[in-house]
């Protein structure tokens, strides 16, 4: 087993280099680079001296080197654990990603746990009460949830919260708490901000989980073994949760590979709209500003998480399903 995991992990390396390469190429393709964008902004603001610094700046960032050399240098440093610097803030990429990871994971985890927990619970309920009024209601809700872009919900919540409380709940913390050590008021303040993005994304995420859960569970509940279990006198609760539910988990676990990546890069637009200090926004800004190393690292990280997610979901499926384990 360990050998299998190690082998799979080793297989990641070429894939990740390839992902990083493609990521770099994509950022390399548009005309201009970070420096020309930066210079333009400076010129438009009137900083004429900065315009004269263009070549010097490019040299400072190593952008004057050919693409392949730049990529090779970056890859070698990456393997050494040095992700390079962000061109925009001149800070080490690792530091930036590190500083974002906490908030990102906090939001994503809440979103993930809630949307899966609620989605699964409602999906199971819906499937076990098929065609009931509640089922119809939940089905309708889930369809609407699937159709609503989460950023619209987030915006609506934001404005609603302002109209009701007079507070603007952008970001994840009130400014007075940013960068402060942990305390109870800080946690409360955090939670006060957290609900908007979490609810907005959960509404749509949950809908998907619920649809999948309901569909699969219905499918499973129609299978012979369920009738056989009932005929055996197994209590309904056990039939559903121990047997049918576990069988119905397959596609959800299969989706884990994307889910892990979603944790760091889902709900981009919601993050932008709500100004969340998450890695999503960093990635978007970095892509648009052609902040090469920052965007490249995040893309590679996401690719890694997708690969990792695939591995995890494969392992989980094998653990769950003897048919896979023994084949």
């Amino acid at each position: 087993m360990t050998r299998y995991i190690v082998r799979r992990l080793l297989q990641f390396i070429p894939s990740m280099i390839l992902i990083a390469f493609v990521g770099f190429v994509i950022m390399e393709l548009p005309p201009g680079d970070y420096v020309s964008n930066y210079i333009r902004a400076q010129a438009l603001a009137g900083n004429q001296d900065m315009v004269a610094q263009e070549a010097a700046l490019r040299q400072q960032f190593g952008l004057d080197q050919p693409f392949l050399i730049r990529f090779a240098n970056w890859t070698i440093n990456l393997i050494r654990g040095d992700f390079g610097i962000s061109l925009a803030t001149r800070m080490p990429v690792s530091e930036i990603i590190g500083s974002k990871l906490g908030a990102t994971v906090a939001v994503s985890l809440c979103v993930f746990i809630l949307s899966w927990a609620i989605g699964i619970a409602l999906g199971v309920y819906s499937a076990t009460h098929q065609y009931s009024k509640t089922d119809n209601f939940l089905t309708t809700i889930s369809f609407i949830g699937l159709g609503l872009p989460d950023f619209l919900i987030a915006l609506a919540f934001l404005v609603l919260a302002w109209q009701l409380t007079g507070q603007v709940l952008t970001g994840l913390q009130s400014p007075e708490f940013i960068g402060k050590p942990f305390s109870i008021p800080l946690l409360l303040d955090f939670l006060k901000h957290l609900w908007i993005p979490v609810t907005a994304v959960v509404v749509t995420g949950m809908a998907w989980v619920m649809r999948v859960m309901r569909g699969n569970l219905l499918n499973e509940l129609g299978k012979n073994y369920v009738t056989a279990l009932r005929a055996k006198g197994v209590p309904e609760r056990t039939v559903i949760w121990k047997h049918a539910f576990r069988n119905a988990l397959h596609p959800l676990i299969g989706a884990l590979s994307q889910t892990l990546a979603f944790l760091v890069n889902g709900f981009v637009i919601t993050s932008v709209v709500l100004d969340l200090p998450t890695i999503q926004v960093t990635y978007l800004d970095a892509t648009q500003a052609q902040d090469l190393f920052l965007a490249g690292t995040i893309l590679t990280l996401i690719g890694f998480l997708v690969l990792l997610g695939t591995l995890v979901s494969d392992l989980l499926l094998a653990w769950l399903d003897p048919r896979i384990r023994f084949s």
Partner: protein, 635 residues
């Protein structure tokens, strides 16, 4: 006798009061506590012997409060405009001219090739170290002149192709020598948060990052990060001479500032400035104006100068009472947003001919429905106007200057498609093949391509309207977007016909004169980079303007204006130059300008002047409005 006695008595009284004022200064309670605790020297020792006295806008303020504002990104540009505009000189609050700042006084020689400047004695960095000319010399000698440091000489320091030379007279006296007259050097070197504001770096601090002084340092990255305006505020340990200093910086989220205990300015009652204790800057990501609007209406901003969208003004004003703030309409100080730069060095000769034809340019200008652009893109709050300098500029302050300004700003802006059509007819630009669009005089098709940078929605909207307007008079018009690099290359290759420069501002000779005369080979040079390059290099590079053309005369007029050593001479030369724009106009086309720039100010946030010009960062607002004397009226 009585009279004389009275006079003496008054004199004594006046003297003694100044003496008292000089000796006792007040300071913020927080600082007083530190002094009492022995953590800080007393305020008299921290202030220069003769601190700069700042006249409050409304009244003498009180200490305290945290100023909450929003900045657009990690470069903290808005913040630097608030805390970091401390150059040699400073613009007057209404931008009418300059006043002493770090420099207490200066003397020019007669032909304006030498200036001796006197630093204000006793200014200290925020860590208590004294500011001397050595700090400035460090920048010049160890950064600009050091080959290992990737830094080019600032504008104004190279005259006639030669670097200026510096001579240290004493710790507070410095002599600049130029190869040719450079009468506006000090002013030009005092614009915005850059120039001398940027050049005055704390040598004692910077040395540790310089390879020459610290053998452990191998490259200049750290040094440059502390020098560059866009990263300077990321370092709380870096001393400053500004009113506030960074205390904390959390990327993408927050920067906090606290008062500089060694700030070297006082109010008229001897209170050490600044009044406000702290500044709290939230760093936005994504669409900043939205966050500004939201925070503003929720009353969570104390004073926000930039990124208040004009379109949001109704929303912000309607919530002013509930949010307990007011909106002061400053001026963006733009002459056009966007500005239509006609290019006169084109690969397409036929089109170049047309560009040089005044009737063609007039037709283009009068075909534009500026009122509609104003309604749609600026709530009707901007001013439809021709390309012309701003009315606040010094040269317009005389009666003849004002008259000229009025004439210039209003020339060829009346929307008149019929006149445009007849102008075009008169020069043979007519529709010969009946496709609804006019052809060139030689019968070949005419299509104008208007280029601009991406991601400026207001410009895009304007250009779509412009396209409709021009097509309506039969000029086929296409819109095009280019990145900075593409634009630069295309401009030099003569492939940009008309460029729509986003919000443009300029200020006579001081700020971007190349917008009114093609004198520099830069991207924002009117008429095209090559023509500007030709002038800048003295004919060595670039393309000359057509002989005897208005462009050539503009270049000549500019030469006269820069070499003028007195203000009268200079203003007269400028007005003469502008006259060319009227007589031969329009040479470069304006749309709508002077957009109001809403400033959201909390009701108890006082001493904010009623005017300010925020478009060009050269003007340094709100730093120019002396934010150190802003205060919270605690009631």
């Amino acid at each position: 006798m009585m009279k004389r006695l009275l006079l003496i008595a008054l004199l004594v009284l006046a003297l003694s009061s100044t003496v008292i004022a000089q000796q006792t200064y007040n300071e913020a309670p927080a600082l007083a506590e530190k002094v009492a605790a022995g953590e800080l020297p007393p305020v008299e020792e921290r202030l220069p012997p003769e601190p700069l006295v700042i006249e409050p806008v409304e009244q003498v303020g009180e200490y305290g409060g945290t100023w909450r504002m929003l900045d657009q990104n990690n470069e903290l540009g808005f913040t630097l405009m608030t805390t970091g505009v401390e150059g040699f000189l400073k613009w007057n609050r209404d931008a009418s001219g300059f006043r002493p700042n770090v420099l207490e006084s200066w003397e020019w020689n007669d032909d304006a090739t030498e200036v001796t400047v006197h630093f204000r004695e006793g200014i200290r960095w925020s860590d208590g170290e004294p500011l001397t000319v050595d700090d400035y010399l460090f920048w010049w000698n160890d950064m600009v002149l050091d080959e290992t440091v990737p830094l080019d000489p600032a504008s104004g320091t190279v005259v006639g192709g030669e670097l200026m030379t510096l001579e240290k007279i004493d710790d507070y006296t410095l002599k600049f020598t130029f190869a040719a007259p450079n009468p506006l050097f000090l002013e030009a070197h005092s614009r915005g948060p850059w120039n001398s504001s940027q050049s005055l770096v704390p040598e004692h601090y910077m040395r540790q990052f310089h390879p020459r002084y610290n053998s452990e340092v191998t490259d200049t990255t750290e040094l440059m990060n502390r020098y560059n305006t866009s990263t300077r505020l990321h370092y709380p340990d870096m001393p400053t001479i500004g009113p506030w200093m960074v205390t904390n910086y959390v990327p993408d989220q927050l920067a906090t500032f606290t008062r500089n205990p060694y700030y070297w300015k006082v109010d008229t009652e001897g209170n050490q400035l600044p009044y406000i204790d702290n500044i709290q800057v939230e760093i936005a990501s994504g669409p900043v104006p939205e966050q500004v609007a939201l925070k503003a209406i929720a009353g969570e901003l104390d004073m926000q100068v930039r990124d208040v969208a004009l379109q949001d003004v109704p929303l912000i004003l309607e919530n002013a009472e509930a949010g307990n703030y007011r909106v002061i309409m400053w001026d963006r100080g733009d002459f056009a947003w966007p500005w239509l730069m006609l290019m006169y060095d084109l690969a397409d000769d036929g089109l170049e001919d047309l560009m040089y034809t005044q009737e063609f340019r007039q037709a283009l200008s009068v075909a534009i429905n500026r009122d509609r652009i104003n309604e749609v893109t600026a709530l009707g709050l901007a001013t439809p106007r021709q390309f012309s300098m701003l009315p606040q500029a010094e040269e317009f302050q005389s009666p003849e200057g004002q008259a000229l300004y009025e004439e210039w700003a209003n020339s060829y802006i009346e929307y008149d498609p019929e006149q445009a059509a007849s102008l075009l007819d008169s020069i043979g630009v007519v529709d010969t093949d009946g496709d609804g669009f006019r052809e060139r005089p030689d019968g070949t098709p005419l299509e104008l391509v208007v280029t601009t940078f991406p991601d400026n929605p207001k410009v895009d909207q304007t250009l779509e309207l412009l396209q409709q307007d021009w097509q309506a008079v039969g000029i086929k018009t296409a819109l095009n977007l280019m990145t900075w690099d593409e634009y630069t290359t295309a401009n030099q290759a003569g492939e940009v016909q008309i460029f729509a420069w986003p919000s443009a501002a300029g200020w006579g000779l001081l700020s971007a004169p190349t917008v009114w005369a093609p004198i520099e080979g830069v991207q924002w040079s009117m008429a095209g980079m090559n023509i500007g390059q030709y002038y800048q290099t003295g004919g060595a590079e670039g393309v000359p303007p057509r002989e005897g053309s208005m462009l050539e005369r503009l270049q000549e007029a500019y030469s006269r204006a820069v070499s003028a050593t007195t203000a009268e001479e200079r203003n007269a030369a400028l007005l003469a130059a502008y006259r060319i724009h009227i007589d031969e106009g329009p040479i470069t086309i304006g749309t709508i300008g002077q957009h109001p720039s809403p400033v959201v100010v909390r009701n108890n946030f006082r001493n904010v002047p009623e005017t300010g010009l925020v478009a060009s960062w050269d003007l340094g607002y709100p730093g120019t409005a002396d934010p150190e004397q802003f205060f919270f009226d605690q009631e």
